[in-house]
Amino acid sequence: MNLLNIELKKILPYSTFWVILILVFALIPAVFYGIGQIQIQGAPFDMKQMYRFPGVWNNLTYLASWFNLLIGMLLVILVCNEFSFKTFRQQVIDGQSKSDFVISKIMVMVIISLASTIYLFLIGMLFGLTTTSGNVSMFENIHYLGVYFIQAIGYMSVGFLLATIIRSTALSIIIFMLSILIESIIQIFVPAGIERFFPMEIIANLTPNPIYQSMMVQAQQMQNMQMNGQVTPPQMDMLSLGTTIMVASIYIMLFWGVTYFILTKKDIR
């Protein structure tokens, strides 16, 4: 608790932290609302359906997952600050251990993830309650909030590792943003099947694209209806959510371990 107290003393007065967080918290509902307002000429459905229970949980967390990259960047900034201000070095001199540092940052990740998950819950309730009519289960897809929580921690853990390796704020942010691109380039060169297990892809897939999701359901239905196979359903090749959560959790713990290992091996300048 002392460690968490120290972290809060560092972060709460830090204006950049609030600017990024408020930006994210303001943009998520604004963009979510905006997308729902799009009128598609001749479309057989109304975009506003996305606000409704229980689909809202999937739709909202998928949208918010894009902003999780910003949350990851926030952690990159917080960690790089400790290196560029040399305050990590000072705190080791004053009596912290390197594991204290890792544990402190994990606590920060959990707090930030928890705050944004709770915030998304409130946003989801607001949209759901104001638009849903009829008898539907409000919390049917509520587990998407849980995977969103893991995803936020996942992106921040990637940021933590990169910041620890690179140490410069600007370069770390650039590499963090490019890591998805770099990963997809590497994916071209690996045998098929393995590419689905790459870290950024796994973390991104925690919050599945709702359009993909419904296409998958449709494909399943088509398959069921057309048992004779006159229509070839679109091939959807995705890992199950359970597997994705498991692999993502392993990655997150691996990132923490590697970060700690790097800290113990390097001099603190």
């Binding site: 002392n2 003393k9 201000f85 705190q91 001199i93 004053d94 009596g95 001099d267 603190i268 300048r269």
Partner: protein, 295 residues
């Protein structure tokens, strides 16, 4: 006297450069140990190793007779190289974090700010501080919890003459309180004024160490001249308590044993029939002694 710090054969290199080579040192309770050496001689690297931010390639060190851990570091007040604080936080907020890390009560903040004369600026953001104020804040942070052992790396770095005098007064007060202080400096004058012991480093090697008088030859020299220099030199050799006779530029330089002064020398020479033409005491030239050491 109990041993506070023992360093055993510590070495560290950066690539081909040997930053510290086979350094061993033992520092005891109440000693004020100056680590003296030119820039790049390995002073900060040595202190970085004993404070656990740099990893030695080989060798060990013990604090208070045990292997070091984070709890031993909490008991040591340290200022290593630059002052390290969060620029967007005030001095008070920064020290609040340091208090939590060292696990000392926050009531310490006002005490240490008063010592370094920063009470007036306690609520200003660190980034608005001048270099001298930053350095004083770093010293304040080292004083949190009133530790018995202090590690100070170039404590007067970046200060103006008045600031240097203030910081030296603070350190002298600490010395008077019987604290053990390990202080790195490249300023001989500073070490000479404050320290009881000194270790001289050059290119990562420990050249010499021990009580400061012994290492830097702090003894005063007496010079004397007479009409007949040959006779004077011969007679001087017979006088009790005279040593280190050297002749240069028509004067004879010598050292007198403890308790004997120039009047004693004058009287002894007169008794042997020599009237001195010139007699004086010369302050020791530490600078020259030091430069001789690190040559």
């Amino acid at each position: 006297m109990s041993e506070i710090l023992s360093i055993n054969n510590i070495s560290k290199s950066y690539g081909k450069i040997h930053a510290v080579e086979q350094v061993s040192l033992s520092i005891h309770n109440g000693e004020v140990y100056g680590i003296l050496g030119p820039n790049g001689s390995g002073k900060t690297t040595t202190l970085g190793i004993i404070l656990d931010v740099l990893k030695a390639d080989s060798g060990t060190f013990n604090w208070f007779g045990k292997a070091p851990d984070k709890f031993t570091r909490k008991k040591i007040g340290s200022l290593l190289e630059t002052p390290n604080f969060y620029p967007y936080l005030s001095a008070r907020q920064n020290l609040g974090i340091a208090c939590k890390v060292k696990q000392v009560p926050e009531s310490e903040i006002d005490r240490v700010l008063a010592i370094v004369n920063l009470t007036q600026r306690a609520n200003s953001k660190f980034k608005t501080y001048s270099l001298g104020m930053k350095q004083r804040l770093a010293l304040a942070s080292a004083l949190l919890g009133n530790p018995d052992v202090l590690v100070l790396d170039e404590p007067t770095n970046g200060l103006d003459p008045q600031g240097i005098a203030e910081v030296r007064t603070i350190i002298k007060d600490l010395v008077a309180q019987g604290k053990t202080i390990i202080m790195a400096s490249h300023i001989l004058d500073e070490v000479e004024k404050i320290c009881s012991h000194v270790a001289v480093l050059k290119s990562g090697k420990l050249l010499t160490y021990g009580p400061i008088q012994a290492v830097l030859n702090k003894q005063e020299q007496v010079y004397v001249a007479a009409e007949d220099m040959g006779l004077l030199k011969a007679v001087l050799g017979q006088i009790d308590g005279v040593s280190g006779i050297k002749e240069s530029s028509n004067k004879i330089y010598l050292m007198l044993a403890q308790g004997k002064d120039s009047a004693y020398l004058n009287k002894a020479l007169f008794e042997k029939g020599i009237v001195v033409k010139e007699l004086g005491v010369q302050k020791p030239d530490l600078e020259a002694n030091f430069l001789e050491l690190v040559k």
